[in-house]
Symmetry: C2
Subunit: 354 residues, 2 copies
DNA sequence: ATGAAAGCGCTAACAG
DNA sequence: CTGTTAGCGCTTTCAT
């Protein structure tokens, strides 16, 4: 007789609300179907190499018992990574990140993958901790919207990594992002083309992305034969709306205020508009990244936008391929285009007071 | 000699970009530190009952090897549920849900729990599938923003469940939600108090929440001694902005349009405002749930708001306690209060055309 | 085609 | 205190 005779569980039929409802295992199914453990496993995994009749019996047992494969045990097998991806990002409350999350979630879900979100606070050290935790959970791959700081520790993690929105230092991995420089150029060109010559640019602190946007901004000026007034390049201490609001106020109260403002981030755009509304000033404004209700504000907001959802989708697809070993190319660099959406705020002429 | 002599892995030293980097195990650590497996485990789990010196040696080995406990193997132990919670919700793109996600993520993270997001499409069947998948991943608990449909199948799942924002049918579990009826009443009272007598209410399709809001709406009317004009109770076919926009247009083009509109959802509010903007009509408007930029629209929007983040936090806290077995009370029902935030749109007088 | 058996990495019970 | 050992539920050879 089998030495593994579950005579434990005295009264397993009572679980009013108990957290301890014993879920049936493959062994239970095997016994019930009168077959071997291996056969059940084979059936569960596609049922190849199993006689139809046997498979049917197993399936019946599975239904009767309400059996469900334990993904954890399954993932224990080395090499056989779990069927979940990790997504590490900052603030889900930012529609930008939420969109990425949703999109990647959809793609992952279609392949039967779940997505684990590491809790990431603002601090750079927190991200590292979160990533480690996620790795220890044996996720099949990591999608990371990296914070600053070195990510070299991921090098030998043994898990494929795809960076989203911006690259990380210390490691050469796949990266999916938008054409920040092109977008910055687009915004500046649009404004310059309108005759603006004093254009301010608001930058979130040391983000890779805003740096590139600034570069595009400068490039556009150069192409137009103009110099960038460095006093109009505002490096914000924080990347939130409040910070931008304050800076905008200071900017507009100078003796020689800019005639146009380029806000390099959705939250910054909000701050700019808020300050402008209070000041009752209306320089031209172009924001980077579209946002909900942008078209319904007193003056609809002109923005440089890109397909954020596609960012998430591409990242998930790429990661899934890497995880499956289906993609062994060297690290890829996917860059999505930006487009300018004129809505009004960016088309105001440079006249001081219209 | 030990019979477990990893002579497998012919050439494990090459991983240029291989997904197969062998992570060290406790056994490796034990060997390295010259101690037994159990000792390593003890150290990793707090190190109680281990001589300081020994523990130190183990820790050194852990650092040298860069060892990290395999959470999957750890969770294999029955009863010892994994250290992750599941969060099942609809559309992360809706700031309402994103806020819940972020908040619960924070709380879970503080307790060392990760949060797994099941990919949930719109369909009701998809939710069931997602939940099953999550359960099979042995999560320690489920937070669910339930769709319609019966959730009885969760009854014997053996995992604690907390519903968020609305209860589910077929199962008696913890629920954390806002005072929808009170909020609806608040909105209606505010409008009625202004002298409005023809107030329209827009409802998303058969959501529990909007139903309660309608109830509060009716109750306020009753208290004021007024009847609700049923032709102004608009049951939308879909819960999106477009649907609300269309309905609002029809509403306002009637011979006897309402003098005020109560949009029972953030997205609906958006649709209402959009239609009103195009129509250039300005009945009073009150929305349910606050939203970003509500105060910056041409007419700042009056809303009934609640602490959504707290919704997520409470849910996570409750679930964590349940999962830990620290809370064995009967299913709880936590209801968060609502407050009306007057901003302008809700304070317009009932005069037909101002 | 199918059963038996060996682990995956870890925890926990049991010896020393 | 610390080493040994038996599994957790599943996938996977290896026989049969």
């Amino acid at each position: 007789m089998p030495c593994r005779e579950k005579e434990v569980n005295p009264v397993p039929e009572t679980f009013p609300n108990t957290p301890e409802a014993a879920r049936p295992t493959m062994i239970d199914v095997a016994r019930r179907a009168g077959v071997g453990l291996g056969t059940v496993s084979r059936v569960v995994n596609g049922g190849h190499g199993v006689r139809d009749e046997t498979a049917q019996r197993v399936r019946t047992a599975i239904d009767q018992l309400g059996f469900q494969r334990n993904e954890v045990a399954r993932a224990l097998r080395p090499g056989k990574k779990s069927s979940s991806l990790a997504l590490v990002l900052g603030d889900l409350t930012n529609p930008f990140y939420a969109t990425i999350a949703k999109a990647s979630l959809e793609v992952a879900g279609q392949s039967g993958f779940a997505v684990v979100l590491g809790s990431v606070d603002e601090d750079p050290e927190g991200e590292k901790r979160a990533i480690r935790e996620l790795v220890s959970r044996q996720v099949a791959g990591l999608m990371i919207v990296p914070d600053q700081g070195d990510h070299a520790f991921l090098q030998g993690a043994g898990v494929p990594v795809v960076f989203v929105d911006r690259p990380a230092t210390g490691i050469d991995a796949d990266i999916v992002m938008v054409d920040n420089e092109g977008g910055g150029r687009l915004a500046a060109e649009h404004l310059l083309g309108q005759g603006h010559e004093r254009i301010a640019i608001l930058l979130a602190p040391s983000y890779y992305t805003t740096g590139r946007r600034l570069r595009g901004f400068r490039r556009a000026h150069r192409s137009a034969g103009l110099d960038v007034d460095e006093s109009l390049v505002v490096q914000l201490p924080e990347g939130n709306a409040e910070s931008a609001e304050k800076a905008t106020r200071e900017l507009m109260l100078r003796p020689d205020p800019p005639t146009a403002i380029f806000a390099s981030t959705n939250f910054l755009t909000e701050g700019v508009l808020r300050a402008l509304g209070e000041l009752r000033r209306d320089p031209a404004v172009v924001g980077f990244d579209d946002f909900r209700l942008a078209d319904m504000l007193p003056t609809p907001v002109t923005v440089v936008a890109s397909d954020i959802a596609e960012l998430g989708r591409s990242a998930a697809r790429l990661l899934l391929d890497r995880a499956a070993g289906a993609d062994t190319r060297p690290p890829q660099r996917i860059v999505l285009p930006c487009a300018l959406i004129p809505r009004g705020s960016g088309e105001r002429p440079p006249k001081k007071k219209r």
